[in-house]
Amino acid sequence: MPSSRGRLKVFIGMAAGVGKTYRMLQEGQAEAEAGRDVTIGYLEPHGRIETESLAGGLEMVPRRRVHYRETPFEEMNLPAILAREPELCLIDELAHTNAPGLEHEKRYEDVRDVLDAGIDVYSTVNVQHLESLNDQVTQLTGTRVRETIPDAVLSQADEVVLVDLTPEALISRLRAGKIYPPERVPAALNNFFKIENLSALRETSLRQVAEGVEVKRLAPAATPAIGTRREDRLAKSAATQAISERLLALVTLSPRAQRVVRRAWRSAQRLGAELDLLAVRQPGHAGGRSDGDTGQQEREQLEALRRLASILGAQLLVEEGDDVAEVAIRVARERGTTYVLMGAPKPRNAWRRLTQPALPFRLLKGLPGVDLRIVADRTLREEAPAPAGEEPPL
């Protein structure tokens, strides 16, 4: 029985079909060629010929068949892997939920046993299976994933490898029948495999891995505290950073915008988040058309906002549109916004109040799951009036 714990290497990707399993098998083959004892503990080739052929030559631990409610399931054979004691075991689909009645409910718990036995493990997972990102990914894609793993599993991995592919290339692979059988392709293209979904997931994957790298870089390497394993500290640290916040501040081209932006920046600083500023102009204004004093003042305010954004390290987006809510919702979705800040909306006339919900309500409805904060306008706050004939104090 090996004395030390095995090492875990996880191949993470934005979606099915990016090549995680393929990459895991490639590295497994390389290890076998280098003389290591490598077995496949569980492989889910999804009928992909390239993947199946790459597994050739590697010993595969036979699956075990279990029955649940008279339905047979083929599951990974944990006892057989532990009895076989390879140096390295390849175990696909880390987030898989086992059929009831096995040693553990989840495959990552099986993997923990394998690691505890001193066996190195290579495994695969999609980014949407991470617990902390589940809600965010659901918002981004409209699809909720039921099988999740705790973030600590990933943060405790010795190595995390991002298997990246552009959304366009992934969709080409899907159309070519390299991911799903032909009959499933149209449904996949209409649902999950959309460019905007994949772009958002790709950004999420890149951020996740980058944050993991940063956590490991920042974590103190030496002299762990008594009773605290380094892995535990890393996991705790990673858990606080696993969700990336992104703030969007809606600004008008008026003096009030400066305060809204500064407030938004402070919130972003506290959350360790990126800050985007969005100014929506009526169509025709952005080209610098001269339209009197108002246009001149708006241009000045816009330039002042640009300078403020530059000092704060925020990104100013200027969009044209008749409907502020519509533009804001679109931009928030594109940018993966998790938090919207805006100044107090102007009072609306009776007709508008009757015919259209207020901007905050429209934002809340159009951006489910996104937090909304309204920055109070101090000039509207009730102040105690100065005594008759006296000016308010300076």
């Binding site: 003096p255 400066q258 000045e300 300078r307 530059s310 390290g313 007709w351 101090r378 300076l394």
Partner: protein, 177 residues
């Protein structure tokens, strides 16, 4: 008969809405007529905010019905690129500008804050003059041992270069009694 009553009610409702809208616009126009036209710049650095200069700027803005434009001058160290984000300066600017805005609110003075950057105080002032329009500028002149004001050289430079009127407030001499 019923149709006539319905038409009458709809007409009355539309008339009320129209009357309310006309009144709202009239008030809006009246407010915009009262809105301030002039701007008074009040630049300062992270070294400190001069209370007498702020009071003078607020008093002037209120008397003239002008907007106060407090400007925090953020200094960019030479070793950094000129357009680098400045979180530490921004943190300080935010706190000071909030303080000024609160005072302006209490004094019923409209305010339009700015943060301007430069390699030196004078560079930031030059940038301010290039980017913003204002009719007057109120500055605190520093003195021995006091940091919340501009140096004599900077004030002299402003006298020569600032557009419009410049009001430099010399700090009061400490009382000997």
């Amino acid at each position: 008969m019923i149709a006539a009553v319905v038409a009458l009610l709809v007409g009355a409702a539309l008339g009320t809405v129209a009357a309310l809208e006309i009144e709202r616009r009239r008030r809006g126009r009246a407010l915009s007529r009262r809105s301030p036209v002039g701007r008074i710049a009040f630049p300062f650095t992270g070294e400190g905010l001069s209370e007498p200069a702020l009071v003078a700027a607020l008093r002037l803005a209120r008397a003239e019905g002008a907007t106060l434009m407090p400007v925090y001058l953020a200094l960019v160290p030479m070793r950094l690129p000129a357009d680098v984000p400045l979180p530490a300066e921004a943190e300080q600017a935010t706190a000071l500008l909030e303080a000024v805005e609160q005072r302006a609110l209490r004094a019923h003075v409209p305010v339009d804050s700015r943060i301007e950057r430069g390699r030196t105080v004078r560079h930031a002032l030059r940038e301010l003059m290039e980017h913003e329009r204002f009719e007057r500028m109120v500055v605190a002149a520093g003195a021995d041992g006091r940091s919340e004001g501009f140096s004599a050289e900077d004030v002299a430079w402003l006298v020569e270069h600032a557009p419009g009127e410049l009001i430099a407030l010399r700090p009061a001499q400490p009382s000997s009694s």
